[in-house]
C-alpha cells in the first residue's frame, strides 16, 4: 500500500515537473524576419531595396485574380498603349487587357481583381515599402555611399510611384493643377495608420519632384549595381518624365540630357526588347529562370510565336494601327523590323502584327515556337532613345527649334537614313490626334509614338498633350471594341473627359473616410462619383 502511494506521487511529480519551458511558446516563422531588425544596416537595406524592386516587376502580387494582366511597370505601359489609338488589340483572346482597351474597367472598382484595385495597390505598396526604408535614413549602419545609394533608389521609386498614380487616377497635370489627385504618405505605415485625403496634382507633383531631386543628388556619381537599380541616369530619366508631364520643359530637358548618357540611341534591328543588358537600356529587370514565368508576362502578350499562335500574343494580337503605320516612311527601318502585314486565321487582317517584342529563346521570327519563356524575357523600363525624344520636344517647346531638329535628326539617322525634319516648325497640335498640323512638335510626337510603341503608355502622352483621339475600323480597331465603346458612351475625343481617369477602389473608400471617388462615367455629375473640386 505504502509502495503504491509512493510510486503514485513520485510519478505525478515527475510528469508534472516536465511542464514546459515558457520560451517554447515564442515561435517565429522560417521565411521572414522581424521588421525592426531588417533596416539596421545596409545589408538589410539592400535586401529591402531588392525586395521592393522585385515587387516592381513581379507578376500577380496586386490582385486576388486576373493576375495575368498584372505584371508591374510593363503591364501599365501596355495598358496605357492599349487605351490610346496606336495599338490595336485584334481580338479579345483570354480577356486580359481587353477591358482596358475597351474602357470597361472603371465600373469594376469594387472588385479586387480588376485594374482600379490593381494599379492603386501596386503604386501604394511600393510607396509603403520605400517609406520604411527612408525612415531608416538616419539610423542605418554602413558606409555613407551605400546608405545614399539605397536611399536614392527609395526616393526615386517614391517619385516614380506618385507620378504614375497621378497619371492614372487624376486628370492631366496641365489644366488640372489644383484638382484632386491622390493622397500623399511619406511616413512608415504602422497598425492603425489612418487614411489621408486626396491632395491636388500640384501637391503630388511637388512631392514627386522633391523626391526625385533628392534621388538625383544621392545617386550622383554612383554606378548602377544591377540593371534593376536606379542610378543617376535612371533617376534623371524619371525626373525628365515627371517634368515633361508637368510642362516644366526646361527641367525635363536638363534631366533628359543627363539621362541620355546612360545608354546608346542608335537603332539595332536585332534587338527585340528581351535583354535588359542591351546598351540602349537604362533601366529594366533581369529575369532568371527561377523567377521567370510562363504566362503572365509582357512578351507572352506580345509575341505570337509563344505557343504557336495560341498564346495570348497570338489570340489577342497586338498590332500597329494603320493610321500610325502609314505615317512611317517606307525607308524607316523600324517599319519593316517591327511590324508586318499579317493575314489572320479567319482570313481577316486587323492591322500590322508587331515583331518589336519577341522572346530571345526561339529559332527565328514566325517559327511558332518559343523554347523557353523563363529566360531571355527581361523587362525593359527605360531606354536612352526616349530621353533623346524628350530633349527634342523640350527644346522645341523652349523655342530652340534648331537644337530640337538636331536632336531628332541625330536619333533618326540610324533609323531612316534619308530622314530630315529641318523643314518643320511650330508647336501646334490638332484637337484630335488624327487632325494634322504639320508642326515640328507633331513630328517629334509622331517619332515618339513610333519609337516607344508598346513601351510607354500612349494614353499618358495623350493626356499631357491635351488632345482627344478616335478609333475607327479603318485604323484596324475591331468592330467588337467599337461596339463596346459606343455602348459605354465614352468621350475619348475630349481631353476633359474622365474616361481615362481610373476609379478609386472600394477597399480604399471603405477604410478611408476622406476618400472621394472619381466620376464613373465621362463627366462629373451631382450624384455619385463627383469630383468635388468642380463644385468649388
Amino acid at each position: 500500500m505504502k509502495k503504491i502511494i509512493i510510486a503514485f506521487f513520485a510519478f505525478c511529480l515527475l510528469t508534472l515537473a516536465s511542464s514546459c519551458n515558457q520560451e517554447l511558446l515564442d515561435t517565429v516563422p522560417t521565411t521572414a524576419v522581424s521588421g525592426d531588425f531588417m533596416l539596421e544596416n545596409t545589408e538589410g537595406g539592400f535586401m529591402a531595396l531588392n525586395g521592393t524592386l522585385r515587387f516592381v516587376w513581379r507578376w500577380g502580387q496586386t490582385t486576388t485574380g486576373n493576375y495575368h494582366q498584372c505584371f508591374g511597370i510593363q503591364s501599365y505601359a501596355l495598358m496605357g498603349d492599349l487605351m490610346g489609338e496606336d495599338m490595336v488589340m485584334a481580338a479579345q483572346g483570354s480577356g486580359w487587357f481587353w477591358y482596358d482597351y475597351n474602357y470597361n474597367v472603371k465600373s469594376r472598382f469594387s472588385s479586387t481583381t480588376w485594374r482600379p484595385y490593381d494599379a492603386w495597390n501596386y503604386y501604394y505598396t511600393i510607396i509603403s515599402q520605400v517609406n520604411y526604408i527612408l525612415a531608416a535614413q538616419e539610423t542605418m549602419a554602413g558606409s555613407k555611399a551605400e546608405v545614399d545609394y539605397i536611399m536614392g533608389n527609395a526616393f526615386a521609386l517614391r517619385a516614380y510611384a506618385y507620378h504614375y498614380l497621378a497619371m492614372t487616377f487624376a486628370r492631366s497635370y496641365i489644366g488640372h493643377e489644383d484638382r484632386l489627385s491622390v493622397p500623399i504618405y511619406t511616413e512608415p505605415t504602422s497598425a492603425g495608420t489612418e487614411g489621408k485625403p486626396r491632395s491636388t496634382n500640384r501637391e503630388v507633383y511637388a512631392q514627386a519632384m522633391s523626391d526625385i531631386n533628392q534621388a538625383v543628388t544621392l545617386l550622383n556619381g554612383k554606378s548602377q549595381m544591377h540593371v534593376s537599380h536606379i542610378d543617376q541616369y535612371v533617376a534623371n530619366g524619371i525626373k525628365a518624365r515627371i517634368a515633361l508631364y508637368m510642362g516644366d520643359y526646361k527641367t525635363a530637358y536638363e534631366a533628359a540630357a543627363v539621362a541620355v548618357k546612360g545608354g546608346t540611341i542608335d537603332f539595332d534591328k536585332n534587338f527585340h526588347y528581351n535583354d535588359a543588358t542591351h546598351s540602349s537600356v537604362l533601366w529594366g529587370a533581369e529575369v532568371i529562370t527561377s523567377q521567370g514565368t510562363t504566362n503572365p508576362q509582357f512578351l507572352v502578350h506580345m509575341d505570337i510565336d509563344y505557343n504557336a499562335g495560341s498564346g495570348y500574343g497570338g489570340r489577342a494580337r497586338k498590332c500597329c494601327s494603320t493610321e500610325l503605320y502609314d505615317q512611317i516612311a517606307d525607308s524607316d527601318l523600324r517599319k519593316t523590323a517591327w511590324w508586318s502585314w499579317q493575314v489572320l486565321a479567319d482570313g481577316k487582317t486587323y492591322g500590322y502584327q508587331q515583331w518589336k517584342f519577341q522572346f530571345a529563346n526561339k529559332a527565328y521570327q514566325g517559327c511558332g515556337k518559343v523554347d523557353d519563356t523563363t529566360t531571355g524575357a527581361d523587362h525593359i523600363f527605360m531606354r536612352a532613345a526616349e530621353m533623346q525624344l524628350i530633349m527634342a520636344e523640350c527644346q522645341a517647346r523652349l523655342g530652340n527649334e534648331g537644337q530640337a531638329k538636331d536632336l531628332l535628326n541625330e536619333l533618326m539617322k540610324t533609323r531612316q537614313s534619308d530622314y530630315d525634319c529641318s523643314g518643320k516648325s511650330g508647336l501646334q497640335l490638332g484637337k484630335l490626334t488624327t487632325d494634322k498640323t504639320g508642326s515640328l512638335l507633331e513630328e517629334i510626337i509622331l517619332q515618339r509614338r513610333i519609337e516607344l510603341w508598346g513601351e510607354y503608355g500612349r494614353i499618358y502622352d495623350i493626356k499631357r498633350l491635351r488632345q482627344g483621339f478616335e478609333r475607327t475600323l479603318a485604323m484596324g480597331h475591331p468592330q467588337a471594341d467599337l461596339n463596346v465603346l459606343a455602348t459605354n458612351n465614352c468621350h475619348l475625343s475630349d481631353p476633359e473627359s474622365f474616361d481615362w481617369v481610373l476609379t478609386i477602389p472600394q477597399k480604399e473608400l471603405d477604410a478611408n473616410p476622406y476618400m472621394v471617388q472619381n466620376p464613373l462615367g465621362s463627366y462629373a455629375s451631382d450624384g455619385y462619383g463627383d469630383d468635388p473640386a468642380l463644385n468649388k
Binding site: 522560417t30 521572414a32 535586401m47 529562370t289 523563363t374 455602348t487 471603405d510 477604410a511
Partner: protein
C-alpha cells in the same frame, strides 16, 4: 452486456436450484417489457430475504415454488426492480419498466466519459451502426442530418475529400469556424480521409460551453469527438465486411444550350452589339453573319459543313438554315465522366480479450473511383489497440493506426482553364473533343486512334488545352502516410486496494499524429499549361507532426448519495509543419520525376511551429442521481500571440436536474425520464490564418534576380489575443409514454467577442488591414430531436427520427466602420454574416431589351450626410426609387437582400426491422437562404468567346415590344451583377436508403458464422432544389463554384461475424 446477463442469471438459477424448497405453492407467470409487451428472458425472480430464486426462460415465462406469503423480487439488467407480494396467487404476470438510466448511453466528453443523464452540457452521439449506413470514404460526409445543430457542406466529389461542418452557425469571421476534431481523447491533426469510418465506434458532437470548455483553447466552434473501436473481454469476434458500388453524379448538370441554339444565340448577341451601337436591325444582322466566323474561331470549328458561318444563320429569323447538318456533336462533360466509377470497400476486424487484457485489430482497403475520369482515392488502413490491467491500480493501453492513402485528382480549380468542371461545362457545344478533318470526320492518327483537339486551330476558348486529353496526359497524385498513436497509463482508481486513497487516480496520455504527403504534379510538354515550358514537374513533400501530452489527477468517489469528481491537469501541445517544394521544366515525357527534366525553375522550403500549454480543472458534484452541477476551468497559452497577451482563461458552469426523479413526478406515469439542463461558459479561438499573427515581418521570398530581397508583408499588433465565445445553453431531454417518444430540445445563445478581424486600413497605406480583436457576433438558435418508437416488437420494430434546427446569426460590432464588404456580400452590424448587398434588377425594358435596375437616393441631413435608421441601415429617400438602365446608378443603389442562412433545416429518417429484414432511410432538408450562383451568372452573361449559355437565355428579349424575363443577349455586356443570380437555396435531399437481410442463425451457425447480413444501399441519392446544376451546399457563405460535383453511390455489401 448480454453475456454478462446470461452469466448472472445462470448463477442465480444454480443458486435457486440448490436451495431446498419448502412445500409451498407454485407460482407461474410471465415477465414482460412494459413498453414493448415482449417477454423478458432470464429475468431473475428471488424470494425476498432468502437465497431462493429462479429465472425466466427465453420467452419470459417462469415457474417457482414459494411460501404463500412470500414477497417476490423481480430483477433484470436494464429494468427497474419490482417487489410483488404473492398473497396466495398462483399466476403473477409482471410488466417491467425499463430503467431509463441503465439503458442510457454514456457520452464521450472532454477527458473522460459521462452518463448522458448526468451530463450538464449539450452533446449528441452517433453510433457506428448509424454512421455505417452511409457509404462514405470520409467520415465528415456522414454527419449531415444526424446531429441537430450541425450544418454541413456537400464536399467535393473528389474521392476521399471532406465535407465542412459548422456547429451552431458561424462562430467567427476571420478566424476558423470549423470544429475541433478529437480522436480517442487527443486533438487530431491528421487527415480525416485517413480514418477508416468502419473503425469508428462512436462519434460525439459537443455543442455548448459546458461540453467543450475543457477544450478551451480550441473548443469555441464545438468539438467532434471520435472514439475508435476497442476490444472487449470475451470470445474473439471476427468481422468481415465487403461493399461494392457504382457512383454517379448526385446533382444534375446545368441545362446548357444545344449546338443549334448556341449558334443562334451567338449570332443574336453579335447582332445586338451592333444594334446597340446604333445600327439598324438589318445592318446589325449582316454584321452578325459576317462576324460569326471570327467570334467562333473560323470555319475549322464549323460543324455545319454544308454552310459557312456567314451563310448559316438566316438573318430574317435568326435561326440556322433548316437543312444545316452538324458533322459532330460531342458532349465534353459526358466524355469526361467515368461511367464505371466503382467503389469497393473491404474490412476485417478482430476484437476480444480476457478480464485483464483486451485487444482489437482491424484492416481495411478502399478503392474509390471518381466520376471524373482519372480521379481516384485508395486507402489501406490498419489499426490495433491493447488495454491491459497491470494491477488493480494500474492500467495501460493504447492504439496505433497507420493508413496509406493514394489519390489522383486534378491540379486545377475555379476558373483555371485546366479545370474540367469549368472548361468542359461551359465549352460551347460546337467544339469537338476529338480532332476533325476538313469534312468534319474524326482525324485519326497513324494507329487509327482518335486524337484530341487542342483548339490550336483557332478555338477561342481554352486554346492549346483539351481538358479530356490533359486529364490523361497530366498527372496529379498525392500519396500520404498517416500514423496516429494514442496511449495512456492510469494509476489508482476505485479499486479497494487503494484504501483511503480510493477514488484517486493519476493518468498520463500521449497522442501524436504524423502525416507525410508526397505530391507530384506533372504538366505534359505538348499541350495545356506545360506546353510553353516543354512540360513541368513539381514535387511537394510536406510533413505534419503534432503531439499532445497531458497529465491528469482525478478524484472520483461516491459517499452515499453524494458523488464527487474532481480533476486537474496539465497539457502540452506541439505542432510542426514542414514544406519542401521543387519544380523543373523541360520534362522527359511521361516520367513524373525531377531528374530527367532539364531546367531547375523553382524550389522552396519552410516550416511552421505552433504550441499551446494548458492547465485545467473540473469539479463535478451530484446528489442522489437527481441534481448535478459541474464547473470547469482552463487556461491556455498560445504561441500565436505576443507573450503578454498569450494566456486566455476559459470556464464553464452547468447544472442538470432529473425532474422525473422527484416525488411529485412519480404520479406522472407517462414520463419515463425528464431532465432539465442549463449551462454557461466561455471558450476561446486562436485559429487565425497565420501562426504568427501579431508580428511584423520582412518576408524573405522576394529575391531580385541574384540579389536577396525582402518586403514588409504584415503589420505588428502586439495586442492580438484570444477570440472569445460566451454561450448559454438550456435544454430539456425526456422519454415519454413508455419510451414511445424521446425528445431533446435545446435553446442556445452564443456571443463571440473580441472577434479577430483584419482591422481595415486604406489600401493607400500599403496594407489593407492588421489583425485585431474588435468585432462581436451572436448566434441564437433552437434545435429539437424527436424520436418515435412506433412499434417495438420482437419481429417488428419501427422508429423515426425527425430533427430540426434554426440558427439566427447577427453581427453585433465590427471595426470602426460598421460594414466589411467582400464582393457581393457584406458583414454588417445588425445583419446576418455575409448578407448579400447588391443592386436589384427591375426587369427588362420591353422597348430596348436592356436590363433595368432599381436605383434610389439616400435621405440626407442638412449637412449632406446619409441618414440611417436605428438599426444603422441607410434610409432610402421615399419616392426616389425608380427604374433605370444606367448601371452606374444601379451600382450606387445596392439593397440588402438576405443571406445564405436557412430559415430552418433538419432531417427525417426511419428505421424498420421486420423479421430478418431491415430498412432505413435518411433525408435532409433546408428551407430558405440564398446562393449566389456564379457559374449560372457567367453562363447567362457570357464574357468570353467560346463559352456557352444556360438554357434560361432562351427567355431573352428579342425584338422591341417583347416582354421578356431576360435582357437581350450580349457578349461581355458589362451588365452588373444583381439579384438575378441569387437563387433560393432551399432543398430536399435523400441522403441514404438501406435495405438489409440477416440470414437466420440456424443457417449461419451451420456455416460456422455468428451472423451474416447482406445489404444494398443508396447514398447521397438525389437532391431537389430550385436550379438544376446548382449545389446549394457548396459552402456556408452562399457561393458556388466550378467544382467537382458531389457523387451518389449505389452499392451491395455483406457483413459477416465469426
Amino acid at each position: 452486456m448480454r453475456k454478462l446477463k446470461v452469466l448472472c442469471t445462470c448463477l442465480l438459477t444454480v443458486l435457486a436450484l440448490g436451495t431446498a424448497l419448502a412445500q409451498n405453492i407454485t407460482v407461474k407467470g410471465s415477465v414482460k417489457d412494459a413498453s414493448t409487451g415482449e417477454g423478458v428472458p432470464f429475468a431473475s425472480i428471488q424470494v425476498k430475504g432468502t437465497m431462493t430464486g429462479t429465472a425466466t426462460d427465453g420467452d419470459g415465462n417462469y415457474s417457482i415454488d414459494v411460501p404463500k406469503n412470500a414477497i417476490l423480487l423481480f430483477s433484470s439488467i436494464g429494468y427497474l426492480n419490482q417487489e410483488v407480494a404473492v398473497e396466495g396467487r398462483t399466476v403473477i404476470d409482471i410488466l417491467m419498466a425499463t430503467d431509463a438510466e441503465a439503458l442510457e448511453e454514456t457520452v464521450v466528453v472532454a477527458y473522460g466519459t459521462a452518463k448522458k443523464s448526468s451530463f450538464t452540457g449539450s452533446a449528441s452521439a452517433v453510433k457506428s451502426e448509424t454512421l455505417n449506413k452511409r457509404t462514405v470514404s470520409n467520415v465528415s460526409k456522414a454527419i449531415e442530418g444526424l446531429v441537430a445543430g450541425v450544418t454541413s457542406t456537400a464536399g467535393s466529389g473528389q474521392p476521399g475529400e471532406s465535407a465542412s461542418l459548422h456547429i451552431r452557425g458561424y462562430g467567427s469571421i476571420n478566424a476558423s469556424s470549423t470544429p475541433l476534431y478529437v480522436v480517442d481523447g487527443i486533438p487530431y491533426d491528421g487527415a480525416l480521409s485517413a480514418i477508416n469510418p468502419a473503425d469508428i465506434e462512436n462519434l460525439t458532437v459537443l455543442k455548448d460551453a459546458s461540453a467543450s470548455a475543457l477544450y478551451g483553447a480550441r473548443g469555441a466552434n464545438g468539438v467532434v469527438m471520435i472514439t475508435t473501436k476497442r476490444g472487449e473481454s470475451g470470445y474473439a469476434n471476427v468481422n468481415f465486411k465487403a461493399q461494392f458500388g457504382l457512383q454517379s453524379r448526385s446533382l444534375p448538370r446545368y441545362n446548357m444550350l444545344s449546338q443549334d441554339e448556341f449558334v443562334e444565340i451567338t449570332w443574336e448577341a453579335l447582332r445586338n452589339s451592333s444594334y446597340y451601337a446604333g445600327n439598324s436591325m438589318a445592318d446589325a444582322g449582316a454584321y452578325a453573319s459576317s462576324a460569326l466566323s471570327a467570334q467562333l474561331g473560323g470555319e475549322f470549328y464549323n460543324p455545319y459543313k454544308n454552310y459557312t458561318w456567314e451563310t448559316l444563320v438566316d438573318p430574317a429569323t435568326g435561326k440556322i438554315k433548316p437543312d444545316a447538318k452538324a458533322a459532330w456533336n460531342e458532349d465534353w462533360m459526358d466524355i469526361l465522366t467515368n461511367h464505371k466509377a466503382y467503389r469497393q470497400d473491404y474490412q476485417v476486424g478482430i476484437t476480444g480479450g480476457t478480464e485483464k487484457t483486451r485487444y482489437n485489430l482491424s484492416a481495411g482497403y478502399l478503392d474509390d473511383r471518381g466520376v471524373l475520369i482519372t480521379t481516384k482515392f485508395d486507402r489501406y488502413s490498419i489499426r490495433g489497440g491493447v488495454d491491459h490491467n497491470v494491477t488493480k491500480w494500474m492500467q495501460v493501453g493504447g492504439n496505433l493506426s497507420y493508413s496509406y492513402t493514394d489519390s489522383n485528382s486534378s491540379q486545377y480549380s475555379s476558373t483555371q482553364t485546366g479545370n474540367a468542371w469549368y472548361t468542359a461545362q461551359f465549352m460551347a457545344p460546337i467544339y469537338p473533343v476529338y480532332l476533325k478533318d476538313e469534312n468534319g470526320k474524326d482525324a485519326l492518327d497513324e494507329n487509327g486512334q482518335r486524337q484530341y483537339d487542342y483548339g490550336t486551330n483557332g478555338r477561342p476558348k481554352a486554346a492549346r488545352f483539351n481538358v479530356v486529353g490533359d486529364l490523361y496526359e497530366n498527372h496529379y497524385r498525392t500519396k500520404a502516410d498517416n500514423a496516429s498513436i494514442r496511449s495512456y497509463a492510469n494509476f489508482g482508481g476505485s479499486d479497494p486496494v487503494m484504501g483511503a486513497l480510493k477514488g484517486l487516480s493519476f493518468s498520463v496520455n500521449f497522442g501524436a499524429d504524423i502525416r507525410n504527403r508526397a505530391i507530384t504534379s506533372y504538366y505534359n510538354p505538348y499541350h495545356g499549361d506545360g506546353a510553353s515550358t516543354s512540360g513541368e514537374v513539381d514535387k511537394y513533400a510536406t510533413r505534419t507532426m503534432s503531439y499532445t501530452f497531458n497529465q491528469i489527477l482525478k478524484y472520483d468517489r461516491k459517499f452515499g448519495a453524494h458523488h464527487v469528481l474532481a480533476q486537474a491537469g496539465h497539457e502540452w501541445y506541439n505542432y510542426n509543419y514542414t514544406y519542401l517544394y521543387a519544380e523543373r521544366t523541360g520534362v522527359y515525357p511521361g516520367i513524373y520525376e525531377l531528374n530527367p527534366a532539364t531546367n531547375v525553375t523553382d524550389n522552396a522550403s519552410y516550416a511552421y511551429d505552433y504550441r499551446i500549454e494548458s492547465w485545467f480543472g473540473r469539479l463535478n458534484y451530484d446528489f442522489a442521481d437527481k441534481y448535478y452541477v459541474e464547473a470547469t476551468w482552463r487556461t491556455d497559452g498560445s504561441s500565436r500571440f505576443y507573450k503578454e497577451n498569450r494566456w486566455g482563461q476559459f470556464w464553464s458552469l452547468g447544472g442538470s436536474w432529473r425532474i422525473s426523479e422527484e416525488k411529485f413526478m412519480k404520479s406522472a406515469q407517462w414520463v419515463d425520464n425528464l431532465t432539465l439542463r442549463l449551462s454557461y461558459g466561455q471558450l476561446g479561438n486562436d485559429d487565425l490564418d497565420s501562426y504568427y499573427a501579431w508580428q511584423s515581418f520582412y518576408n524573405l521570398t522576394w529575391p531580385n534576380a541574384g540579389n536577396p530581397g525582402a518586403i514588409v508583408t504584415s503589420l505588428e499588433n502586439k495586442n492580438v489575443s484570444w477570440e472569445k465565445k460566451s454561450s448559454w445553453n438550456a435544454g430539456i431531454e425526456g422519454t415519454f409514454f413508455h419510451r414511445f417518444l424521446n425528445l431533446t430540445a435545446e435553446f442556445y445563445h452564443q456571443t463571440t467577442t473580441d472577434m479577430l478581424l483584419s482591422f481595415p486600413m486604406p489600401t493607400s497605406t500599403g496594407f489593407n488591414g492588421y489583425n485585431s480583436n474588435v468585432g462581436s457576433m451572436r448566434n441564437i438558435g433552437f434545435e429539437a430531436t424527436l424520436r418515435f418508437n412506433w412499434i417495438n416488437r420482437h419481429d417488428l420494430r419501427f422508429s423515426s427520427t425527425i430533427m430540426g434546427y434554426k440558427n439566427k446569426n447577427t453581427v453585433l460590432a465590427l471595426t470602426d466602420t460598421d460594414v466589411i464588404t467582400s464582393g457581393n456580400q457584406v458583414i454588417k452590424v445588425g445583419m446576418p454574416i455575409y448578407t448579400f448587398y447588391m443592386p436589384k434588377s427591375a426587369g427588362v425594358d420591353p422597348e430596348t431589351g436592356k436590363l433595368l435596375y432599381w436605383c434610389y437616393e439616400y435621405e440626407k441631413d442638412a449637412e449632406g450626410n446619409v441618414m440611417k435608421d436605428d438599426k444603422g441601415v441607410e434610409i432610402i429617400k421615399p419616392g426616389s426609387e425608380q427604374k433605370t438602365d444606367d448601371s452606374s446608378k444601379a451600382t450606387a443603389s445596392k439593397y440588402y437582400l438576405g443571406s445564405r442562412e436557412p430559415k430552418f433545416q433538419g432531417s427525417f429518417g426511419s428505421d424498420l426491422q421486420w423479421k430478418n429484414f431491415d430498412f432505413s432511410f435518411l433525408t435532409t432538408f433546408s428551407i430558405g437562404g440564398l446562393v449566389y450562383d456564379s457559374p449560372y451568372a457567367s453562363s447567362m452573361e457570357v464574357s468570353y468567346a467560346g463559352d456557352t449559355w444556360n438554357r434560361d437565355i432562351l427567355k431573352r428579349w428579342r425584338n422591341p415590344g417583347d416582354n421578356a424575363e431576360v435582357p437581350a443577349v450580349l457578349l461581355g455586356a458589362g451588365r452588373i451583377n444583381t439579384d438575378r443570380w441569387l437563387i433560393d437555396a432551399s432543398y430536399f435531399a435523400i441522403k441514404s436508403i438501406q435495405l438489409g437481410y440477416t440470414f437466420p442463425q440456424k443457417w449461419t451457425r451451420k456455416a460456422g458464422m455468428k451472423s451474416l447480413r447482406i445489404f444494398a444501399t443508396g447514398d447521397n441519392i438525389c437532391m431537389f432544389n430550385k436550379l438544376a446544376g446548382m449545389d446549394p451546399q457548396y459552402n456556408f457563405s452562399g457561393g458556388t463554384s466550378w467544382a467537382y460535383t458531389p457523387t451518389r453511390t449505389f452499392s451491395l455489401g455483406l457483413d459477416i461475424n465469426f
